[in-house]
């Protein structure tokens, strides 16, 4: 049997295998799949047997159950709180083995967390819960309802920058939510800092932390929602399922057009934009005219700049960057 990742890669060579491992485990967690299903996923993704210490479960690379744990090679292995998961790779590791085991461990950890009652922090950041429920949950966490806190959003795989912490499903996959009440967080690889709020308004802070996290990238690894100012209101009200035409238009530009447009918006003059781009003044002027036609507004006027900046912000809040490059969903899905 072919490895699942291989099959998916053949269908979609542009997305990385790592991305698919993460996406698959996120989808399994979102669907509420149990331990056996998670192990089957790890085994079929890696092409070797996978196991977990809990209940002594092992499955082979086609998903069939194996006998309970004997003297098996655990390579690589991840030991978490109260559980261990592993692949049974003999010889050198394959490219995605560590990633598969990491996501497996996280998913199993989440399973453990969600076997008990919903964690108090899950309640605290959930806007769907009543104010009373959230206040009770804060009390259980030992946080005063009037305390100033903010929520911090990081990737689930990153160590928590503090406590309490939990993992929360968002429209863009699972994210780790951590409470910060001191202002002294040790940021992870990519970190979105929420706005400071009274503790009983934690859902607002979490929502802004998720927005800030979505705006992080390789250059800006930490984004503070407070720095967005009034743009945060715009971001809050944005529905990526129904993007404004300005956003769709930006998404449709090719890489060169996007670069030229950004230079035109940021530079003082066409001449300095041309210098920055290393292009001739007249060709930048021609591109400016063409972009003004394509966009339906002149990006160098004050209003045009504003429209560009808003649309660029919202574009970054849209579904993952690969989705932006694809045509709209088909079959009315």
């Amino acid at each position: 049997m072919q490895e699942l990742v291989g099959r998916l890669t053949a269908l979609d060579p542009e997305a990385s295998e790592t991305l698919k491992v993460v996406a698959y485990f996120d989808a399994l967690v979102a669907s509420g799949v149990g331990l056996d299903g998670l192990l089957r996923a790890a085994a079929v993704l890696s092409g070797v047997a996978a196991g977990a210490e809990r209940r002594g479960t092992r499955v082979d690379s086609t998903g069939r159950r194996l006998d309970a744990i004997g003297d098996v090679e655990r390579h690589p292995e991840r030991v978490g709180t109260g559980t261990a998961v592993w692949l049974e790779r003999t010889g050198s590791l394959h490219a995605n083995d560590e990633m598969v085991v990491e996501r497996l461990a996280l998913a199993v950890e989440l399973l453990e967390t969600h076997r008990g009652p919903v964690s108090s922090l899950d309640v605290v950041v959930d806007a769907g819960r009543s104010a009373d429920e959230r206040r009770e949950a804060l009390t259980r966490l030992g946080i005063d309802v009037a305390a100033r806190i903010r929520l911090v959003a990081t990737g689930v795989g990153d160590a928590a920058p503090g406590t309490p912490t939990t993992v929360v499903p968002t429209r863009n996959g699972m994210l780790r939510a951590t409470v910060d009440s001191s202002g002294r967080v040790s940021p992870a690889d990519r970190t979105g800092l929420g706005v400071w709020v009274r503790a009983d308004h934690a859902p607002d802070s979490w929502q802004s932390a998720v927005i800030a996290y979505r705006l992080t990238d390789a250059t800006d690894r930490i984004v503070d929602a407070t720095d967005l100012g009034a743009m945060l209101i715009l971001a809050h009200s944005y529905d990526p399922e129904a993007p404004h035409d300005d956003v769709t238009t930006l998404a449709g530009l090719d890489a060169l057009q996007s670069t030229v447009l950004r230079a035109l918006v940021e530079a003082d003059s066409i001449r300095s934009a041309a210098a920055r781009l290393g292009m001739h003044h007249s060709s930048v002027q021609a591109r400016h005219d063409a972009l003004t036609r394509d966009l339906g507004y002149d990006p160098r006027t004050p209003i045009g700049r504003m429209r560009y900046v808003a649309a660029a912000l919202l574009l970054r809040l849209s579904d993952d960057s690969t989705a932006r490059d694809r045509p709209p969903r088909r079959h009315g899905q």
């Binding site: 979609d12 698919k20 698959y24 399994l28 299903g37 089957r40 998903g63």
Partner: protein, 322 residues
């Protein structure tokens, strides 16, 4: 015409996760994009040389007479050490009547070739829309006749031939079995109809419910349009093209039918099993909870995928075992 008053049953959670990964990768299927669909890479049930070697199975290709004597390729799969005669499997591939080739599907039957020393023949029937009805089903029937006529040299016991196919291949297998019955052609010992495509009428509740999945109502209409053109949904469709239209299923061989509870073909597949029972024909029916079309092929590692494969292997063992 029934109306769908409720959403379809949800996908099984494990299948839901797999579907989330592939849903945006499937190209749109319309009458105009059939070539793009045919070019899709990485079929999960493609027969590879490695799979043959691992199973100890050899392959040879033969050109045989298809419908009206046209050349048709078939592939014969048998154990490398096959001697004498064993059971035969006549395989019809799937692909919505419009795509696929003869190597699409036999992979899941290799264990039967190996374990029961069966000989499998799989036919490269002509596809719609270039070759509309009756070409596909008549090619399939011609290949079955050739297999029965050459049973001895193929190492097949002519009294122990089973027909098998998935999706459109399941529908064509059912149609071929009807042709064999009505023309007093080769005698079949069984028909394995894996999530078969049987009904062109676009009217069942499951058809109305399943607009999301690996084979949607829209896809289904494209497939039947290609096969039947303007006749789709009219009284002018033969029972061999759309076996759901047959009113008398007596005299057919025992059937195995499976499908998912969340696929377009659910209701026509259940109805076909019910009609077989009504007419005194043995049938075994499995409707797998939360299965989308072809879940056992796309996600064979899942719990429900494994259960489906195990049930099919069990029926095959009862049919082919000596």
């Amino acid at each position: 015409m029934p109306t769908a008053t409720a959403a379809r049953p949800p996908f099984d959670p494990e299948l839901d996760a797999v579907f989330a990964l592939v849903r945006d990768l499937l190209p749109p299927l319309t009458s105009d994009t059939i070539p793009e669909f045919r070019a899709l890479p990485a079929n999960p049930v493609e027969l590879t040389p490695d799979a043959l070697r691992d199973a100890g199975v050899t392959r040879r290709d033969v050109t045989v007479p298809g419908y009206q004597g046209a050349d048709m390729l078939v592939t014969v799969l048998a154990r490398a050490d096959h001697t004498g005669t064993g059971p035969g499997i006549y395989h019809v591939h799937g692909g919505g009547m419009i795509t696929g080739d003869r190597l699409l599907g036999p992979l899941v039957m290799l264990p039967w070739v190996a374990q029961h020393d069966a000989v499998l023949v799989t036919a490269e029937y002509r596809l719609a829309p270039e070759s509309p009805d009756p070409y596909p089903v008549e090619d399939c029937y011609a290949g079955l006749v050739w297999t029965a006529d050459h049973a001895e040299e193929l190492g097949i016991d002519p009294d122990r031939i089973m027909i098998a196919g998935a999706s459109a291949g399941g529908g064509l297998a059912a149609g071929t079995a009807l042709l064999a019955r009505d023309r007093r052609g080769p005698k079949l010992m069984g028909q394995m109809l894996i999530c078969p495509m049987l009904d062109d009428r676009d009217a069942s509740v499951s058809t109305l419910q399943c607009d999301v999945g690996t084979w949607t109502r829209d896809h289904n209409r494209v497939g039947w349009d290609a096969l039947l053109g303007e006749h789709r949904g009219t009284p002018d469709v033969s029972i061999y093209a759309a076996p759901a239209r047959a009113t008398d299923l007596s005299g057919l061989p025992p059937a195995y039918i499976d499908c998912g509870s969340a696929e377009v073909f659910r209701d026509e597949d259940v109805a076909y099993a019910t009609a077989l029972w009504r007419d005194g024909v043995q049938a075994e029916l499995h409707v797998w909870a939360g299965g989308f079309h072809g879940f056992d092929m796309l996600a064979s590692h899942t719990a429900v995928g494994q259960a489906s494969i195990a049930a099919r292997d069990s029926w095959a063992a009862r049919m082919l075992g000596s």
